[in-house]
Amino acid sequence: MIKNNRLTAEQYQHNFSDIKPPFETQDAALVEANRCLFCYDAPCTKACPTSIDVPKFIKQITTYNVKGSAHTIFQSNIMGAGCSKVCPVEKLCEGACVYNLMEEPPIPIAKLQRYSTEKAIDNNWQYFERKKSNGKKVAIIGAGPAGLSCAHVLSREGVDVTIYEKENKGGGLMTYGIAAYKVTPQFCEDEVNYILEIGGIEIKYNQELGKNISLEELQKNYDAVYLAFGVGLANKLNIPGEDLEGVEDAITFIYNLRSKTYKDINVGDKVAVIGMGMTAIDAATQAKRLGSKEVTMVYRRTEAEKSCTQHELDIARLDGCATLWLAAPKEIIGENGKVKALVCDVMKLGQPDAKGKPTPTPTGETVTLNVDMVIKATGQNPFTVLVSGYGIDNAKGKININQSATNVSKVFAGGDCVNGGKEVVDAVQAGKDGANAILKFMMNVK
């Protein structure tokens, strides 16, 4: 049965509290910071999409220069605080830490980054001064990581920035698309406010491109436009029963989790989550944490081909989520219009596809899961119609860019709407690149 309010307030609080608690004390941070070898041309820095000077910011913690430490982080990544909580560091900085080569635990870089940046945000240490307004105006679509990062760089250079955001809060997927036990809505709001503190950035909320505003208008009224509206539409399964009550996409499920109170979120007794990416994990773990009795993650390939990290899968398993490998949804069976079961084809792995992943093919056998809720987490589609409608070059909806510039005059783009959906930290870097391309462009247009 699908219902809400399954747990007590204390249980919700416990289930959605910070999964990676911060250092409680300076001493604790120092123990780890002092382990850092201060590598030269450090692998951790190279593995960071925003190239944060990790050895430097950690060294600064050891010299009690926490203020300088956060400065080092924000210089490369203005969302360094949020990234410290949501980055899959096991495949980025911490995965590259040289201690791994000694079979020793890597430096907890994210935790140290959180230590410095949280202090900076809590104390509102501001490092960047906006240059005098130079009269240039840029419109940005989307107040997510790419948009905010782009806006911050532009504002530092004296550009007046207006961000159009379709939601009523900034932060993008950070605010609306990430498991609550990683970042709280309050933190996301604080981070956005901290970034806006520089001035010169105005966010117009509840403004959606193609609905309330048009690209032509923006091209006319601004010196440049930066598209950073991400991806949005959940992939459909295209199987019978997809319209039954109890079938939901993970994006909506997580969005609701981020914008409502936990006790108001509906969840089934027995839930199947389709997919094995990071979003699938976030949906599965949170369904369990909302009080589902059974959660099964269904994936058409094997564990070896999963797209989430091992660390994430471990979180799901520790939460008690089951996995069903080599199973592809075939049909959702209903009763009285509600989900009753999920029938899956049992698959086997065949030849590698273009990306090198073996192609799963049906064996002819099926397996049936008795579930009352199905959460689809099989990826998101770019806004193909929107993008094509404006004549923007794209590949299946993903905007084509050349050094951040689209084929449309004055229009630049970056982040998930270009790459189809990567990490927050990739979007932050895209925003920096976009800002620099726009600055260069505006300097040349007199």
């Binding site: 120092l30 123990v31 201060f38 030269y40 692998p43 040289v98 080569l101």
Partner: protein, 422 residues
Amino acid sequence: MADISSNFLGIKSPNPFWLASAPPTDKKINVLRAYEAGWGGVVWKTLGSQVKNVSSRYSSVDYHGSRVMGFNNIELISDRPLDINLKEITEVVKLFPDRAMIVSLMADSTREAWHELIKKCEDAGAMGFELNFGCPHGMTERGLGAAVGQDPEIAKMVVEWVMEKATIPVITKLTPNVHSVVPTGKACVEAGTNALSLINTIQSVTGVDLDTLVPNPYVAGKSVFGGYCGPAVKPIALKFLTTIAQNNITKKVPISGIGGISTWRDAVEFMLLGSSTVQVCTAAMKHGFRIVEDMCEGLNNWMDEKGFKTLNDFIGKSVNNITHWEDLDINYHHVANINEDKCIHCGLCYITCEDTSHQAINLSYGDPYNTYTIKEQDCVGCNLCKLVCPVDNCITMVEKRVAPEYINWKMWQEQGLPLNDH
């Protein structure tokens, strides 16, 4: 099992590890705890005229996450009444007759005062004396401690007074707050001291509080120079020790080594450079007396491994391995080698060599791991890369002699051999 018992001028102890004259040897309760833990002996905290200590007495230097790398104190000699000290010494000796009981002395600067103190301590059961000519703070202002040790003439005079009266072995403790410890050491040996010990603490300021702007340790808004000790001073102590162990006059008497000894390894190094026994303070003050257990076992294992049966088999064995720079072999050459299998690509060897040495390491960029190799023709063999490498035995120095024969700097000049041209 090797025999680690010590016989220092007839003063026997089950091992060569004594606690130095300091707060840990100030009272019966501490010394009993030390003996129960297994310490071979103590040098009872300095007795002399009655003094009064201030509160807030220690400060330290931490390094890279490690506490008390260096330690400093502004405590004076024992501030307890002499009679209580003497009574407790008698009681401790009675309970542990097999342990060395040396009593540190610092009498007022008169023959009578020294004679009186010596008599009382001998009566109390002292097995030897250590003359405190080294305390660098508080007592010097009274013309005592380091004020005596810094002037060979005064030191000689005091030692002579002591030797007139003492019937048990006398060790003279030297201050390092001098250019060389040898002049005072020689004067004391010539005056008849039976042994020397060194080093006492080094005058220091451990740091300044960046909030109050008052240096450490803080005493009501002020501080004073303190005596520095602990692991940080070990290299300095070993140097002073070597000069005493090499000098023709001072080497005639046995030495008790002091200065930053924390482990059996430190102790062995002091003994190899001429110490017959070693004295410990800071390490015990940091960890408690239990550290002596590993000191005994580690020493024993090392001796077994090296085939040394008694302490005398290796005491002083490294003294002659420290020579004069002029005698070093210029034809000796070694170059660094990086073991690629062990390398973790941290780049520390590269950046130190590139920035501060001879640009002798090649960097080949990789993502994310660079590869580093030695440019042998540019490597002078300075050891820096090996020292900073965090992986044991990843960088080794490989001997590549310039020529087989020995040649020193003097010979080099005489033969008119070429100097560097870059």
